[in-house]
């Protein structure tokens, strides 16, 4: 069986992966880029290639920047495989990929993982009803095919994206009946410390614009207590219960949730990369050095999956990872790498200005902590808050134990929708810090694939019996 050989395998076609691939191919490295989606751009630049000219500006916030990156990408000699996922990597960088129903083996010199971010799950009662989705999902629908809700829409959550979406929806002509803001009291002293970085950043003027316009044009209710989504077979409304016992009800056909975003680290975890807890972002991220290299030699993490730094910083971290990969492959000398990387390193720092302020201002509300007993925590297996809490009380602090006792994390999403909540609950009930709970453990494959594909996979046993691993 022939094994494909490349200098660098890049996983993910968002700004980090695209930028890394462009840099690699520009310097003469044979590059393969695989991505689970059908079109390049990741989530932030989804649909930008096919988006109508007049519609592009409706998304604001640098959406059109993605178009230039993708143009450069299309012109670069890169082996680009869509609808392809990384199934596993062995210690010598032999990667198995799943492309169009077929498993293939790739020998890479270095690997850059750029799997981006996803929305922190927002477990409130009724969140599993059809018609309830994340703000990210709403933006994806709009970017993909100009799709918006046609009925009554209520937003429930906390975070900068609430205000960006409200602004975008005004541009699309989508009405928002209410924004229920779960953001807690702001810690002024912490905010003041980070304010100057924010003021000098690109987020300041745009962010202020979205926030101000949305607050004056939309009904905003602050809710620090119980919020529940109502409905039987689909979403019908939202009820907000205030401390004084009074409640407000909103009819809704669509409910959009948000409570910040998390690095998508399942693949990095399965590879064995060491994880760090980010205090400011309340999430796990891989430990990386200045070159974005993880604790696993020759494996890099670039973009939001290495920590939420935004789309612009992602481009630079992709470039930086590419340059060190090139040095490791001896295509560049250390000196050449340092010279070429200098402007990217400077820009990466600049692009991060203002993030600390945004993180502090919108620190996660972690709805699971105040969720009612019947609230579902594990969506795949339909496991409730009550059940998870009871098990944590019996056997505190052991995530793996909880998984085997409740099945939390055993469904197809592999813990993406439940482990952040389970970890937050464990920390709360056991009265420990989240980092003491530890990151969830992951194993290959991090995306489900049919057994038949594995059965048909020819790893050349007939040729080299007993010599699977050199």
């Amino acid at each position: 069986m022939s094994i494909n050989s490349v200098d660098v395998l890049v996983v993910g076609a968002g700004p980090a992966g695209l930028s890394a691939a462009i840099e690699l191919s520009k310097r003469g490295a044979t590059t393969m880029l695989i991505d689970e989606q059908a079109q390049p751009g990741g989530q932030i630049y989804r649909g930008v290639e096919l988006c109508g000219e007049s519609d592009r500006k409706l998304f604001g916030y640098g959406y059109v920047r993605g178009r230039k990156i993708i143009e450069d990408f299309r012109q670069s000699p890169i082996d680009y495989k869509t609808r392809t996922v990384l199934v596993s990597i062995e210690s010598n960088h032999v990667a198995d990929i799943f492309e169009n129903g077929v498993l293939k083996r790739v020998q890479a010199g270095a690997i850059i993982i750029a799997t981006g971010a996803y929305e922190r799950p927002v477990p409130i009662k009724g969140w599993t009803l059809p018609g309830v989705m994340t703000i990210g999902a709403a933006q994806i629908a709009a970017k993909q095919a100009s799709v918006i809700p046609s009925g009554r829409t209520v937003i429930v959550g906390n975070g900068a994206l609430l205000w960006l979406l409200a602004w975008q929806y005004r541009n699309f002509g989508a009405s928002i009946d209410a924004i229920i803001d779960l953001g807690g009291r702001k810690q002024i002293s912490k905010l003041l410390r980070d304010f100057w970085g924010f003021a000098a950043s690109s987020y300041f003027l745009d962010g202020a614009k979205y926030y101000a316009l949305s607050r004056v044009s939309t009904r905003v209710i602050t809710a620090r207590d119980q919020v529940e989504i109502l409905g039987d077979t689909r979403v019908e409304g939202v009820v907000v219960m205030q401390k004084n016992g009074k409640y407000q009800k909103f009819a809704a056909d669509t409910v959009l949730l948000h409570d910040g975003i998390l690095p998508n680290t399942n693949l990095l975890g399965a590879i064995g990369c060491e994880m760090l807890w980010s205090l400011s972002q309340c999430s796990w991220r891989p430990k990386v050095n200045i070159w974005q290299e993880t604790s696993v030699s020759g494996v890099f993490a670039a973009g939001d999956n290495a920590g939420i730094d935004g789309a612009i910083a992602a481009e630079y971290s992709g470039r930086i990872a590419a340059l060190d990969a090139l040095r490791q492959l001896q295509i560049l000398t250390s000196q050449e790498r340092d010279t070429l990387a200098q402007p990217w390193i400077r820009q990466r720092s600049r692009a991060r200005w203002g993030r600390n302020f945004i993180d502090a201002y919108f620190s996660p509300s972690n709805t699971v902590k105040t969720a009612s007993d019947a609230t579902i925590v594990c969506r795949c297996e339909a496991i409730t808050h009550e059940s998870v809490s009871a098990h944590i009380q019996q056997e505190p602090r052991r995530l793996a134990h909880l998984k085997s006792m409740t099945r939390c994390g055993m469904g197809p999403c592999q813990g993406r929708m439940c482990s952040p909540s389970v970890a937050a609950l464990t920390a709360q009930i056991s009265d420990v810090h989240p980092y003491q709970v530890g990151p969830p453990s992951h194993r290959f494959p991090v995306s489900p694939l049919p057994l038949a594909a594995l059965a048909k996979f020819d790893v050349g046993l007939s040729q080299d019996a007993g010599k699977l691993h050199e």
Partner: protein, 107 residues
């Protein structure tokens, strides 16, 4: 906005689609956009529950729209448990919402 069965779809488009594609959703002929994923197309066609949870039997629909939640599972051209949000529409595609998840495959 009413679809063929007379029920009101919860989603619509803010820009007309220039490039249309004809597909079938639960036997109904639907005109989709060439830019649609199966998920966006189903939402505009008035489908909200794509499958029923294997543990609780409750109806579920798309939540993340990007491939991490595994709620948008549908059957496409006879192949079950495919994530609708990851699959672009193609002419003549036959899509069915489904009863459960991980129903198994013949091949």
């Amino acid at each position: 906005m009413k679809n063929d069965t007379g029920t009101t779809a919860t989603f619509k488009r803010f820009s007309p689609c220039n490039n249309t594609v004809t597909i079938f959703v639960n036997g109904r002929e639907i005109v989709a956009s060439g830019r649609d994923t199966v998920a966006t197309c189903l939402l505009v066609a008035g489908e909200l529950a794509f499958q029923y949870n294997k543990a609780s039997g409750e109806p579920r629909g798309p939540y993340c729209m990007m491939g991490v939640c595994f709620e948008c599972l549908v059957t496409i051209d006879g192949v079950p448990d495919l994530q609708a949000c990851l699959v672009p529409v193609e002419p003549g595609m036959r899509i069915e919402t489904q009863k459960g998840v991980l129903q198994g495959r013949d091949t």
